[in-house]
Symmetry: C2
């Protein structure tokens, strides 16, 4: 990667191009509003319901955009990804729709329901043994070499970032100008893409990333303007347990994101309770980060127009029951 | 009541009039679809999301319609209702919007969260003591006499029935012709109103009520064409624990409803699990009756266009946790 691409690897044009590829394939998800939320937070909030996206999360946008850009030889050789979460299902579904064989590398102890869901979308699942010290990158790398399969990373990839930006693009097109845009932050694929969309379509909006307090590497990275890491953050927001921003997303965050705030797990559960009980929307812990950031964060949003991305809704109700008990 | 009103107390014109009164006040709730549901059930299903209605259930429609028809003297004297469920909140909210004082009679042991919600909408809550053998009708009757307040029954009232019918009216207007319309059935206010709407707007559709197997009085009433009762049915569908159809709803069911099927509590939980996990929609047990009726009922809906009313979404997550554990 040369310096120029490090500085700005993706621009708004890539988001627009991704939107064309996704048209008629991804859902243009609805925007929810809630009088009760507005009364509670003192703002006018617009919730982009990516929990209602195909396979239940925004991840489908980036994966489909990336896979649709492969050339015929690459398509024939297939794709490989390592993930036991939404990225696995996103790559599996995109592969199935585009006729591209997908291999997903998962830990041997991945929940059976996630393995089944990924296979349900037609992907081959290959396990690696965490206990035996096997690395998932290593296994995925071997598959990539043996099959010639293209590795699709979960966030640090320009087509993935551009695809994720299409959700915020739709939100702003649908509701008009915003003062704030709150977005969950793990590896910052969604955050970078959203910030790119806002920079063009809502240039006055302040873009705020929200990450778990236990894994505050992105907040520290933005503050110090130096890439920071965190080891195995313990949080219920399983989609934001990434250890650092990426080589592509970090420069985008530095350039386009105004602030990153953190929320604790109890604050996340309160946000989820509001979304489930009052708004009747099933949102996963990571998907409730942005909402928690508005409700519990340090930013004064009173009387402002606030966009909130509900990034995903894939939960195991049995596991969730313990959160709400 | 004379014979003529017993035969048909409400007609489609009443539903149309209710729709005008509700315009801009009730939400025109969205219609959800699910590829996964269609694959599972083999049909094309359209879910009317009354869980996203104001106060979380279709009940707002009937209550607001009834209250908005009161004359100035009646409005000044206020309204009274007995309910510890959605009807309480519906009358409270409608009263608050119309400036009509509302008194809600609840059992002394009603869940604190429901009492708080009803008071939150501005109603006065009066308790009665079940253990002391006090009847809620008696308490409500006394309030009605003392204050001159108008009693708003939960289902057996022409304006309530007409208001409830507006949800199915919107559904059919939005999605076009249906082969089946599945609706939850307690006292059949929603079912009668929906059947009236379908009789005019989707005359080829078969209207199917779905009630809990433990309280199958409506199914037996339709089959025998004689009003049947059930005592304190034990079911998680707390909105369908009514002991019989009403003097107004029973004739409407006989005339406009084609079938009534029953589902067990485990079938209800399975339907709820699908709605929550796959469709990301929080639906209460009673609100999932129609969905369970399609998934588990005896009717062959394959290749048919099926309307399903998700009637409400008010749940206590702590209580729900035990269902999904």
């Amino acid at each position: 990667m040369n310096d120029a691409t490090t500085a700005v690897a993706v621009d708004y044009g890539d988001v627009e191009a991704a939107a064309s590829r996704l048209e008629g394939v991804a859902h243009r998800t609805p925007v929810a509003t809630s009088r009760q939320f507005d009364a509670l937070a003192g703002c006018t909030a617009f919730f982009k319901c990516e929990n209602l996206q195909r396979m239940g999360a925004f991840k489908f946008r980036g994966a489909y955009n990336a896979l649709s850009r492969l050339d015929p030889a690459q398509r024939a050789a297939g794709v490989v990804a390592f993930s036991s979460g939404n990225h696995a299902q996103a790559v599996a579904l995109a592969g199935s729709l585009l006729g591209i064989p997908a291999t997903i590398v998962m830990p041997a102890d991945a929940p059976a329901v996630k393995v089944a869901a990924t296979r349900g979308y037609g992907a081959e699942v290959v396990f690696y043994d965490r206990a035996a010290g096997q690395g998932r990158e290593e296994v995925a790398g071997r598959i990539s070499r043996e099959k010639g399969a293209t590795l699709i990373p979960p966030f640090d990839h320009r087509d993935v970032i551009a695809g994720q930006g299409t959700a915020a693009k739709e939100l702003i097109e649908d509701v008009g100008p915003l003062d704030y845009l709150f977005v969950s932050c793990g590896g910052a694929g969604l955050l970078s893409g959203s910030a790119l969309a806002a920079s063009r379509l809502a240039p006055a909006a302040r873009v705020v990333g929200v990450e778990p307090a236990a894994g505050d590497d992105a907040a520290r990275s933005l503050r110090t303007r130096t890439l920071q890491h965190v080891d195995n953050p313990v949080t219920i927001a399983d989609g934001a347990r990434t250890e650092s921003l990426g080589a592509l997303t970090f420069p985008l965050v530095l350039r386009y994101v105004h602030d990153i705030v953190t929320v604790t797990d109890p604050q996340l559960v309160e946000a989820m309770r509001f979304l489930w009980e009052r708004m009747k929307l099933v949102v996963e812990p990571t998907g409730a980060l942005a909402t928690a950031g508005v409700l519990s964060g340090p930013i004064d949003v009173r009387a402002r127009r606030v966009g909130i991305v509900l990034s995903g809704g894939n939960v195991d109700l049995k596991a969730m029951a313990t959160l709400f008990a």
